[in-house]
Symmetry: D2
Subunit: 195 residues, 4 copies
């Protein structure tokens, strides 16, 4: 029985949909408790983030999954403000050995999503965490059309595309499935490690 | 005659000293106009950065040098808030072909300063800029004791170390010299390209 | 008048087509002399690469463009064997201030091509070179259908896709155009800097 | 009871000493079976690596730890030749869910060791592996002088320094201890996950 928290920022709503898909997958594991924690601009004062409720939930988590859009070549600054807040946790190595993972959705198929995921990996390593890779082979190489890992994201879950002008945010069905499978994978691994 | 701007965040003052050293080197080039632009927390509202004066100076610059401490494995969030603000410039490719460079000072000799510099590089590439590497061979391999590039930072200028408890921030003399030489190198290259 | 060399490895032929496109763009600049230097397995003995003819051409080049497929998350080992050979050049900083760039073609849209380009950037910085970014805004955001920078590769030129079983290698027309424009951009910049 | 394999290349002998330290730590865990697998140039023909004995041992391993010097900004090409050989394993996802880690020793304190470790991480993610971070807080911040994680390497184990002219390779005592602790950490985690 594991506690899995997804802490993420979403600007236009795409990463929120990715987060919901990751959460949906994580919940498929029996006994999993899943927290969906959205970072918002009003949680940031003078460039510094804080949120006591989130802090408590993260401290109790077995796995923490990071999510953010890739803005200007890296994780959105709102996410980075959260990351910098973890400096206090870091000094006590309070998240040591927790399970980690990450996802990013942005406009273009590649873009710099790898840079964002590399950063989330670096953050997890600062904390002494254990990183779970995506684990899904691009299904097109297996002759499937479900779009699983269609972008070739190996370190975490990737999504790409934009909303049509004036339409609500939507994500690709393959990216959604990729995110669900990734949430399930991390939840299963957390359950295995913490049992 | 080139305009060189250094835009940076500094928390404890070390990166401010690095920025001053870079500026000092940049000014050694005849005709160089150097702007030292410090990002501060009060320039950030609800997680978003803006500063009209800096925006104007950066628009007129031939070279822009990025600077930030490495916090929790990457560039400080205050710097990232500035970087995300450049999205408007990006959409018009307003900084295309400008010269770029970067520096980072943090506590440990390696740390994740490379991650910070990789991010600054990614940011510069989003803008279609031209990145100038450090260019100084670690001088210890040449039998010198001036400490130039003692850390082995090749993409930009690195500094490492911490202040003694209760003492003002100070930087290593080798790191200072490395930063000065890097500022001079970028200023010279900017002058060559823009003449 | 600049000398531009493209040094690359290609396994299945896709990166060879990318290299030819880059060369074609580079040649569009008046007076440019372009060398297309293909790394092959037989140039590698006991894991070490060498080729005197290539070495001489690279030494005389104003710009060097690196190219390699992304294999197992990074630049193909044949390319890395070449890169390690440059250690002798490095010690004398023989390529200092030369212009650099890079490209990578692989199967999936994202994959780890960013890791490959980050590596090529790191290599160029070891040598004290100047890196030229892609510089093309993804044209789809401008309402165009020519496929220029369709993948969102900002540090260098990216290509993606696979050959149909039993068919010769072919590259996407947008990726080809992206590579041509990148070759031209570097050639123009090299001409400007070296004049 | 876990099988831990360390597969590494060493040129001057420093990474061999790092590998031995990692192995020594891994063996401290009851029941651990540790394989020390050294990549050598003669295992590479026409740029391609292969070794049936190593292949079999790696297939049976619960954890695989990668090691290589950082040459010209990235993992030594001999290591990359090995990594590219794993493409066959990758296609069948034969190493999925195995535990992974990495180390690198090079001359300067920072250098591009982070680039090497990022690459090893990318390789592990291509394989769907689980990456174990260093997990040791830089002990100097705790007032200790044992040199544990003195360089600030968070993703894996780092070592730095060079041999005195004409002397055999030696590694720093802090780096050695860091490598031992890292080997033990991975071995313990592998035992926990595979029990």
């Amino acid at each position: 029985m594991a506690i899995v928290s997804i802490i993420y920022f979403s600007g236009t709503g795409h990463n929120h949909l990715m987060a919901e898909a990751v959460a949906s997958g994580a919940k498929q594991v029996a006994g999993a408790e899943v927290n969906l924690l959205r970072i918002t601009g009003d949680q940031i004062k003078d460039g510094r983030w804080s949120n006591d409720d989130y802090a408590e939930k993260l401290a109790k988590s077995d796995a923490i999954i990071f999510g953010a859009p890739t803005y200007m070549g890296g994780a959105a600054s709102q996410f980075k403000a959260f990351a910098d807040w973890t400096g206090g946790v870091w000094f006590k190595q309070g998240w040591k050995d927790k399970i980690a993972g990450g996802f990013s959705h942005s406009g273009t198929p590649s873009g710099d999503k790898v840079v964002t995921l590399q950063y989330m990996f670096a953050l997890s390593c600062q904390h002494g965490m254990i990183w779970v890779s995506n684990g899904e082979f691009p299904s097109m190489y297996l002759g499937k059309t479900d779009g699983v890992n269609r972008l070739g994201g190996f370190s975490g879950a990737m999504g790409a595309g934009g909303a049509a002008q004036g339409q609500p945010a939507a994500i690709d069905s393959g990216d959604k499935l990729t995110a669900e499978l990734y949430g399930k994978r991390i939840s299963e691994f957390a359950a295995k490690v913490t049992k």
